[in-house]
Symmetry: C2
Subunit: 444 residues, 2 copies
């Protein structure tokens, strides 16, 4: 006898968790498709040389790697960006640009599980490759907004920045070379306050006290996006990068406005430092009003060249990644998830032992009308069957014994509101039954 | 520079292939849910001891196995049945029975790729665990039929058998002990003919010439299911297993009839030997009328005890597995797949450089009506943009230059039929535009 168990850091998804998870994934796909993004898939296993050295030292360490049957060094993908880069380098001439793809798939990282992190999780990425146009930036923002809305969220803020703002500022101060240590110091602002941040910039990046103050001026730009955009030229100057950065942000907010994204959801946050290492243009982060501490649930931005390690071509892109599992955990905390263990709303107990064909026919007629139905396979006592129906979270039970079936009626029992009504059902025509069910379900 | 490439036996799915693949998976999920089956998911990686010795020697050899960071011996799952067994043993008391689950997920086998087989493929399984009722057998058959219909197939046959028929026959002949070699010989019937099959039974299974003839009598039962069921008692006798086996088949055909499955699609094939090793009751195989040679595209049956290696409980079950990739290859051969590289039907070229907000608004209004729209991100020449639209397979282009936009019209261009019409669109109300698009798409 072998003890059934899963590996540390890996999870089984039981129906109650998997039903909303699958629904959220389907919602994401529907949104992506609505914007003309196409699905792709890539292998879970790649040549090790494709995967190593592409993320951080940490992702290299966390790689699940081994030697396969053919003596090849292979690894399980740790994200969907490296496979996208490999994919784009391999097929871009055949695919053409702009190439808009989405990819929902599991990734694996041998992470420390103490922080509540898992070693297998689903990533949900979308990217538009091969265009530098601001339209692609705007559509990324619209998709983030649409994803959040479609998943049932109303109270959220999308923080927007543009890497060019900080680059423009550093250019005007002659500090481009020191951008990495400056960014690192800036990132601590919320934690350690402006004075210590300035001191650290001086010691770690070797800037003057005056320069540090000028960098920190950036974080003092506040207000509506329009107000901040007005304040910026005085802070970051009018060099070409600064000017282009401000113009692009203006265009992004204009585009969002044209698409009717509520202005209250958008926040221009020119001091976001996180992620600036990788991104070269616009940056997005998304926070839930009710759970800001869980961090960004959808992040992304514009990058310069996706495929540099695999191809001489230059392919710019913009995209984002939905933190599906983080978001589902949030939805659970906010009671946004239904507590059901079945995807079907209707339960037919096997009441009269000799009527199984009649029940099967009833189930068939309802399924043909698009209603999910479970027919209990054993003719046990009705009470036991209804207990099962309750435990699974069925919404409706259709109760018909031999008498009901022969007299042309069926009882429609609302298991949630504990009400019941008799509905006409002659064994051939389920019209009245379908209508009664749809009324209870609110889909009439 | 690293050459972008995939491992031998692994595939990338480009949009043209992934779009119908994703649609087929979603169709399967919709069908499963309609019958009250719930989704689950399990880790790709399992403890090696969970996986080994559960399939054949071949699957053991083909296992992708390695030692992980924590020194654990692990493996990538090679099917979804072993994980289901582990899962059921672990959670069945919490889940309750009947437990009806579906699972769509990739599996990995280090197979010889010369036979056109892949080392990573998706399995699409559904099972009802914990019930011995014939209702669960019938619903398995109904789901197979519904899956095939919902995927767009009309010409297919579901072959049905019951392991009890052969067991009953062997019981009546006193040959239960020799069932394995008898089955192996019987499996060669179509290839080598009845005489050589009988000879092999005599030499390999040690049966008499008379016994061999009696076994072969089984394969001579032909006709409609009802006709075969009538012939059977004379061939397999009236022992308890034989009688129960015949009764169960009768009930299954009655249930299928009650659900309106066309009788022409069902074939009682009492000589199916394949799979009899594993299954203990009903067996299903599904063949396409137009492509019988690709083999069964959906197979399954009833088994006695799923969890025997992980638990002392006894859990019978019945289910089947859809050969999704085989079926998609068949659909491609039968021209059942659309040739599109985009999931969105409508393309908006970026025609007038200064109207990007107007185009974004137009796209937003259409998307809100449930229409998939791609807005081209660069204001290039119209001809180049339409060439892109053609190459991707968009159905409709909405052409509006500055003049059109200001005079309140938009050209709806049917890219397939090469027709075009002018439709009213004032920049605020897309009702007429939505109607015109739905007419072209045939969704009005």
């Amino acid at each position: 006898m072998i003890t059934p168990r899963t590996l540390k850091g890996f999870r089984d998804y039981l129906p109650q968790v998997m039903i909303p998870r699958e629904q959220a994934m389907q919602t994401a796909r529907t949104v992506f498709r609505r914007y003309g993004f196409a699905p792709i898939d890539t292998p879970a296993l790649e040549y090790l040389e494709i995967l190593t050295g592409k993320g951080s030292d940490e992702t290299d360490r966390q790689l699940y790697r081994f030697t396969d049957h053919g003596g090849r060094e292979v690894g399980l993908r740790f994200d969907l960006t490296v496979p996208l880069a490999r994919f784009a380098a391999q097929y871009i001439n055949q695919l053409g640009t702009p190439f808009k793809r989405y990819h929902l798939a599991p990734v694996w990282r041998g992470e420390n599980t103490q922080a509540g992190r898992y070693r297998e999780f689903v990533q949900c990425d979308f990217d538009c490759i091969g265009s530098e146009s601001v339209v692609a930036d705007i559509e990324t923002l619209l998709i983030i907004n649409d994803l959040m809305e479609s998943l049932g969220f109303d109270g959220f803020k999308i923080h927007i920045n543009n890497r060019q703002i900080l680059t423009g500022l550093l250019e005007s101060l002659g500090l481009v070379e020191q951008s990495v240590p400056i960014l690192r110091s800036l990132d601590k602002l919320a934690k350690i306050g402006p004075e210590k941040t300035a001191a650290e910039m001086e010691s770690a990046a070797g800037v003057t006290a005056d320069q540090a103050l000028k960098v920190l001026k950036l974080t003092e730009c506040t207000g509506t996006p329009a107000e901040i955009l007005e304040q910026l030229p005085a802070v970051i100057g009018d060099g070409p990068t600064a000017t282009a950065g401000i113009l692009r942000l203006q265009q992004i907010f204009e585009g969002a406005d044209a698409a009717g994204v509520p202005a209250s959801r958008l926040q221009l946050d020119v001091s976001i430092a996180r992620g600036l290492d990788y991104y070269t243009g616009v940056i997005f982060e998304t926070f839930l009003d009710d759970l800001p501490k869980i961090g960004s649930v959808c992040s992304g931005g514009r990058y310069d060249n996706l495929v540099s390690t695999y191809s001489k071509q230059s392919l710019p892109g913009v995209g984002a990644s939905l933190g599906l599992d983080r978001l589902l955990a949030a939805m659970e905390q906010l009671n946004l998830l239904p507590e059901v263990k079945t995807p079907a709303p209707v339960f037919i107990p096997y009441f009269d032992k000799d009527s199984s064909s009649a029940y099967i026919k009833m189930a068939t007629l309802l399924r043909a009308s698009g209603i999910g139905v479970e027919f209990y396979p054993e003719s046990r006592k009705l009470g036991a069957q209804l207990k099962y129906a309750d435990s699974k979270g069925f919404r409706i039970a259709l109760i018909a014994g031999g008498n009901e079936l022969s007299s042309g009626v069926c009882q429609v029992k609302d298991l949630q509101n504990k009400t019941a009504e008799e509905v006409e059902y002659n064994g051939e025509d389920a019209t009245a039954l379908v209508a009664a069910i749809q009324t209870v379900l609110g889909t009439a």
